[in-house]
Symmetry: C2
Subunit: 327 residues, 2 copies
């Protein structure tokens, strides 16, 4: 199999560099963190001086990842780096509030798989047909001739599983399975990773889940399902805002549902919305864009300040109704 | 990669035969049905006369499988077959009430992956290290030189996903991913299969799920989680007894839980119990055996007549407590 030329160019730049800053997007998910940590390990194995930075603290959901504690939340001295690489960032804003300073590092490399990627940086390998950035980082590590340790393999496997919902999303391809197989051959135990990602929940989270499910509502002849977590639910159950990860898969699993929406009020007046859809015709990224958000065709989201769940759900429904009529 | 000699022998027997009866276990799950249907298609493609038989009607959960309607529930005239093959049967009793008659067909071949498989039939390929019988049937189809159509690939992929919980269970290996990749290259869309297996639920099922979760209880310092569905829950929610598939994954997902038990009263006085555990040290098949049941190390079950959920849950707890002390 031939490498795409963009991949080889990125590998060549990394090979030339000595002091590399490895970045990912703010509020990093499993794919972002797994990719960042694995590439950091591989580059260190090649003798590079590596710094991993991200302004958002690693969520407790992902603190099982080896090396998660080594990601700097304080901006390092940027002058010393002769290369930066941003992983899984769909656009420059996803680098966070230090975006402008970070982009002064040259060359600035980008590896990403988001559809609708907005170009930034000096060299880019962007492939929206890949299911996860983790898959791409695996190929990058091979192109670099780097050693993929069992720990790095574990991070990359986590990245893949997190971004494909354990090989369930439509993004999953033969390439995904090719890389998953290689990573298992390097010693990853699939059930270990699945256990950490999916079987590691608190009773408080389960009680919150029950509360959220009770409020499920269906609209547009059952094609839209909506769930919500008002701020008081967190206090009442003792669950944390991150504990809602995966809740939206449940309304999405209903036969009639084309679009599932989850409105979460982690802080009073501040509502974040996750959207999930089924099939190629039901692009929720377009609806998220109306509200200033973004994402993938079947998984997108946005945030709103100074609003309530009641207010926003009405607005959102009006935006979703024309979409599901075509699904 | 070398084929195991048992596989080549099974392939040779099938090649010799002209009229083949393809069997699987009673109350067939996704692995059983996917394997049965796919092997039937492959053998027909090789010019064999094939009959697929199973005494239990195909559950509505699996009726999306291509060819599911062709499986005979009436016992065919057995004299005409010059070969039978049983897929995914851990022991002869799993063939159902016609076991004795079925076993008169010679040669009687067996392909299975159950740990603790009890030998029966004339030739066997049994490999408990394989995650699903579907994986093994893929290798058998290749050994036969048969064509794996897109429909057959779909059945085999379903078998694999069903028996690994979408690549989450500890049985998942590099071999599993090798076969999954081959099947995707044959045109299977992973999200289609995942959608059919996991995103195809009724609102009645969701309401039942809520009711069941409300009754969740924890024991042995949170190491045992128990849920139950008394018969009246089905009437009250309109859900069917098969709709509980997957419910047990939820209590199993709690951090503290080593063993999850689900007691279901599909008919009044008749309670079936599913057990799930985490890790190599926590063998629930042993506990199931005490109650006359069986299964795998981390997934087992049994049935009881003339009992109540209250009565059985006490007995079961006493059997589980010593187990989780060692986990």
């Amino acid at each position: 199999m031939m490498n795409p030329p963009e991949l080889d160019q990125i590998a060549a730049e990394l090979t030339r560099a000595s002091r590399i800053l490895v970045l990912t997007h703010i509020h990093p998910d499993g794919d972002a963190l797994g990719s960042q940590l694995a590439l950091g390990m591989v580059l260190r194995g090649l003798g590079k001086e590596v710094c991993m930075y991200g302004e958002t603290e690693v969520s407790h959901l992902y603190d099982f990842l080896p090396g998660a504690g080594e990601i700097a939340v304080e901006l390092p001295e940027l002058g010393k780096f002769d290369c930066a690489i941003a992983l899984d960032c769909g656009d420059a804003n996803r680098l966070g509030r230090e975006m402008t300073a970070l982009l002064t590092i040259k060359p600035f490399l980008v590896v990403d798989h988001h559809a609708g990627h907005q170009d930034f940086g000096d060299r880019r390998w962007v492939d929206p047909h890949r299911a996860s950035t983790g898959e791409m980082v695996y190929d990058l590590a091979v192109a670099l001739g780097g050693e993929i340790s069992q720990e790095a393999a574990y991070c990359l496997y986590t990245a893949i599983v997190a971004d494909t919902g354990s090989f369930k999303y439509s993004s999953t391809t033969a390439e995904t399975f090719r890389v998953a197989r290689e990573l298992v051959l390097k010693g990853v135990k699939p059930s270990d990773v699945a256990g950490k990602l999916f079987d590691n929940y608190s009773l408080a989270r389960l009680r919150l889940f029950q509360r959220v499910l009770e409020g499920l509502s269906l609209h547009s002849s059952g094609r839209i399902a909506m769930i919500s977590a008002p701020n008081r639910f967190f206090a009442e159950t003792g669950a944390a805002p991150q504990d809602t990860e995966g809740f939206i898969d449940y309304p999405r699993s209903l036969t009639s549902v084309k679009v599932a929406a989850f409105l979460k009020e982690a802080e009073v007046g501040k509502v974040s919305v996750s959207l999930r859809s089924k099939g190629a015709d039901c692009n929720v990224a377009k609806v998220a864009a109306i509200f200033g958000g973004g994402g993938h065709r079947n998984a997108a989201g946005f945030k709103r300040l100074d609003t309530t769940i009641e207010q926003l759900s009405g607005e959102l429904l009006r935006a979703l109704e024309p979409l599901v009529e075509k699904c």
